[in-house]
């Protein structure tokens, strides 16, 4: 070994301005819906883009082989996924083609847990596959700048990404609220696909209003996306649902990647729950951004005496938050408010306060406890399914803190599921036991609603015949204090009939 040699970290070759539009940007980690919409946003900004292939069980084994031992399961899965992509692509396009034709872009910041160090594991992948000259760029959430003009984070691109996130979330909410009740099996998935393609197309072809203020103003005020969603709503209008199916509502919480994911990476647990007869409440990504903005607001409030122009800065963040919620709700409204609202962070924080300090950042922070209590106390769900990755640092900590919560609220149905990749049967059977209890609760609620209203299922069916719009997927059933969709529906019909 050469004496004077010192180790230096991986540095990617720069991506030059002239390479834009030639080199493909590869990214991943979200649902196929979000990823397709991000593709639209990137293409609108003049990039070629392609999401990584769908995560498979095999990725875990590939990842384990290539990176240092002891990684959390999202790191291992995503590292393995990148490796499989590189291998498969080079088989088809040759190594040179892959090295020159693609760059991998990943979020690299957020600090406290391993999330901020994911790229170290990706580097092991590049190193062990002899792909050191393949380019991988980190997008720091707070410093979105990249070198040499090849990756330029402009206003239209940023807004495109934010809208992709919002729209992906809303469509996911639609999907999970409707599929368990669809009358014709498979219709939800079909309409969902059409909707995503339609939105993708509009995101991609959104008009250009310059790179700065014009773009800002347009994105903040435009009815463009509301119009797109109105078209989408027409597609969903045609889906017929049967809300008299009694189903427990299961809220998914947990580590960010794992709860968002839809695939082998979390045993496909959302689909599995649906097959087991549940209605799933999926976690929107928009909650995460909301949480980050609130955290920065509270941090600033804590040190208000040391912050220059505190009131001005606070007003700006508040304005940003208002705009954020306003836009999200405006889009929800275009879908007749079928997608859920974002949970109020202030309330989540205060619910979690006796158990978890709100500045303990990492994983879901206080949200893990806050969301579970919020859903339970407001009767939004019968059961909480909490997904924790094997080897996760922060999530295991908040799960431990849940012990005290469960001591105080023993009737909260809580299923913490550890995802290891190879312990599927064990995890799912644990979940099933709690689901059985949740089913009983949903059934009891439903019967109680029938009793309260004096209605029978047949009465409701007859009434539906008179008012067929009730069976539209986009018909909004208000919340009457029951967790279950069917119980609320009974109440609603009774109200329409003048019974309550």
């Amino acid at each position: 070994m050469e004496v004077i040699q010192q180790y230096r970290a991986y540095r990617p070759r720069p991506l030059k301005g002239e390479e834009r539009g030639k080199v493909k940007i590869v990214y991943g980690g979200l649902t196929w819906k979000h990823e397709r919409l991000i593709q639209g946003a990137l293409e609108n900004a003049g990039y070629k883009a392609e999401p990584l292939p769908e995560i498979k069980r095999a990725d875990l084994d590939i990842g384990k082989e290539l990176i240092d031992t002891g990684a959390c399961c999202p790191t291992t899965f995503t590292a393995g996924n990148l490796a499989r992509f590189l291998k498969e692509k080079s088989e088809r396009e040759g190594r040179e083609g892959v090295k020159e034709g693609y760059v991998f872009v990943t979020i690299g910041a957020c600090g406290p847990c391993r999330f901020g160090q994911y790229h170290e594991s990706y580097e092991r992948v590049l190193e062990n596959l002899d792909f050191k000259d393949f380019r991988m760029f980190l997008l720091d959430l707070l410093q979105m700048e990249q070198n040499e003009g090849g990756l330029e984070i402009t206003m239209p691109l940023t807004f495109g990404l934010v809208y992709s996130m919002f729209l992906g979330d809303l469509m996911t909410d639609m999907e999970y609220a409707i599929r368990p009740y669809e009358v014709i099996p498979g219709e939800t998935d079909k309409v969902l696909k059409e909707s995503i393609e339609l939105i993708y197309d509009r995101l991609k072809n959104r008009p250009s209003r310059g790179k700065k203020w014009g773009s800002l103003l347009w994105h903040v005020t435009t009815p463009y996306f509301v119009k797109v969603l109105k078209e989408v709503r027409e597609l969903w209008d045609k889906v017929e649902v049967d809300r008299l199916r009694v189903k427990p509502r299961v809220k998914i919480t947990g580590e960010f990647w794992l709860q968002t994911h839809e695939g082998d990476g979390n045993y496909n647990i959302k689909r599995w729950l649906e097959q087991e007869g549940a209605e799933v409440i999926p976690p929107p990504i928009a909650v995460w951004m909301d949480y980050l903005i609130y955290l920065s607001l509270w941090k600033m409030e804590e040190s208000r005496e040391f912050v220059e122009k505190f009131w001005l800065k606070k007003a700006v963040i508040k304005l940003l938050l208002n705009l954020y919620h306003f836009t999200y709700n405006r889009l929800r409204k275009a879908l007749n408010n079928i997608p859920n609202t974002l949970p109020p962070q202030e309330e989540l924080r205060s619910l979690a306060k006796p158990y978890f300090h709100h500045f303990l950042a990492g994983g879901e922070g206080y949200m893990l406890i806050g969301k579970a209590l919020y859903a339970h106390l407001n009767k939004h769900a019968h059961m909480i399914c909490e997904l924790s990755p094997y080897g996760c640092m922060p999530n295991t900590m908040s799960i431990g803190a849940m012990q005290a919560v469960l001591g105080k609220y023993p009737d909260l149905l809580y299923a913490p599921i550890e995802i290891k990749g190879d312990a599927e049967v064990h995890a799912l059977s644990r979940c099933q036991m709690i689901l059985t209890e949740a089913k009983k609760r949903a059934q009891r609620e439903f019967e109680e609603a029938l009793e309260r209203t004096g209605l029978s299922v047949e009465d409701i069916r007859n009434y539906e015949d008179e008012r067929p719009e009730l069976r539209k997927a986009t018909y909004k059933v208000p919340h009457y204090g029951y967790a279950g969709t069917s119980a609320n529906y009974v109440m609603h019909v009774a109200k329409l009939m003048g019974r309550v």
Binding site: V3, D68, C113, G116, F359, T396, Q403
Partner: protein
């Protein structure tokens, strides 16, 4: 507390204690980052009028401690250093007759690496562990109340020292009946104590390193988290090496004096590779975590300092923070020709037999290769000014220049 900032300036200096606290007994679990901040807590509590004899730490971690006081208190799987906190708190609660248990949630740390790193955060498990383990003492009934003990767990961010008075006041005002000004003065005292302790330790390490240089003696650097100094967590591997006659130094307390830094890092700063001796961006691009940053820096130090001929890395079972660092640290060390050994997956079991065998093997390699390593590393520093105290001895003649 909107008006605190107005009168805090008036009363920040001097001032009497609001009340007599000489009878209050405060217990602190000896866990995680208390290992690197304990001097602060002692100084802080003393300044609030609590006599040293009434500041009680839990014992070192041991299997017995956990079995006796901690079992059944934790509802999840975790790394060993977190798990054992239950034993520390249980021990304090059951055996020490305390008024208060103070288990700080150390969110960020004071670090000499500030400036060229992004942040100095603790591992997320470090502050969170307190809320986690606390839950184990609350789930059936409030065990603290039962024992007449107040449990306080302030959120503390040492990286923002200006926030410490507020954070500590909020959490201690009821338990200790303190005023904001008292807390502010006490924080100042605590930070001074910590700084003094820290620089004393660095001075001591420098003396050891100078001795190694003067005697041309190899030295072993331990790279680990501060709590690996706890015999129950680090299994006294450092002591094993000492008993074989090696001076052992810990990464946390390496000297940072300018002359030494110029000698080791000067050439790279002049070449524009790094901005300062404390810049680790050439080897580690995501510098958020204080302990991790310091481990990385320690590896860089070892890679350049001639008489550190071997680095011994300690890491606990299921440590998520260490995981991404294994390869980079090994490479930083080995690229320079320095020997690297790792004791990974340390947990409660302490196979002293196998530790001994490994230590003996390492001893064999260190003895065999140290002269070459020292000579080669010295060669690299040939052109630079040797700092005082390191009067360099010419390497033995028969040492070769390549491996």
């Amino acid at each position: 507390m909107p008006f605190i900032s107005l009168f805090k300036r008036r009363t920040a200096e001097g001032g009497e204690l609001k009340k007599d606290r000489s009878h209050i007994r405060v217990g602190i679990p000896k866990f995680l980052n208390v290992w690197s901040t304990h001097r602060f807590w002692i100084g802080f509590l003393k300044a609030l009028g609590i006599p040293a004899k009434n500041i009680v730490f839990s014992s070192d971690t041991s299997e017995e401690q956990f079995r006796e006081y901690g079992k059944g208190r934790i509802g999840m799987d975790s790394c060993y250093p977190v798990k054992v906190l239950a034993g520390h708190i249980g021990e304090l609660l059951t055996t020490k007759k305390l008024d208060i248990i103070l288990a700080p949630m150390v969110y960020s740390l004071p670090s000499f690496l500030r400036g060229h790193v992004v942040d100095t955060l603790s591992c997320t498990r470090v502050p969170m562990s307190v809320e986690n383990i606390k839950a184990g003492f609350l789930k059936e009934c409030n065990e603290f109340e039962k024992h007449g003990v107040k449990f306080v767990n302030p959120f503390v961010s040492f990286a923002e020292p200006h926030l410490l008075p507020k954070q500590l006041y909020e959490s201690l005002k009821d338990a200790l009946d303190v005023s904001y000004e008292e807390v502010e003065r006490a924080v100042k005292k605590g930070l001074e104590e910590l700084k003094r302790f820290d620089s004393e330790m660095r001075k001591k390490t420098r003396e050891i390193l100078e001795w190694c240089a003067q005697n041309n003696h190899p030295c072993i650097l331990i790279l680990a988290r501060p709590y690996h100094m706890d015999p129950g967590i680090g299994h006294e591997i450092d002591v094993e090496f000492q008993s074989l006659g090696y001076p052992v130094v810990w990464g946390q307390y390496l000297p940072t004096d300018k002359d030494l830094m110029d000698w080791l890092f000067g050439a790279e700063i002049e070449a524009g590779i790094i901005k300062s001796p404390f810049d680790i961006s050439d080897v580690w691009t995501s510098s958020y975590s204080s302990n991790t940053n310091e481990i990385i820096w320690g590896a860089k130090f070892a890679a350049r300092f001639p008489w550190i001929t071997a680095v011994v890395r300690l890491s606990s079972y299921e440590c998520g923070m260490d995981q991404p660092t294994y390869t980079p640290v090994q490479k930083i060390v080995e690229y320079s020709g320095t020997l690297y050994f790792k004791f990974g997956d340390l947990d409660e079991t302490r196979p002293s037999g196998s530790i001994r065998i490994r230590v003996e093997t390492i001893d064999y390699y260190v003895k065999k290769y140290s002269p070459h390593i020292i000579e080669r590393k010295l060669k690299r520093l040939e052109e630079r000014k040797v700092p005082e105290g390191f009067g360099v001895i010419p390497p033995p003649r028969n040492a070769s220049t390549s491996t």
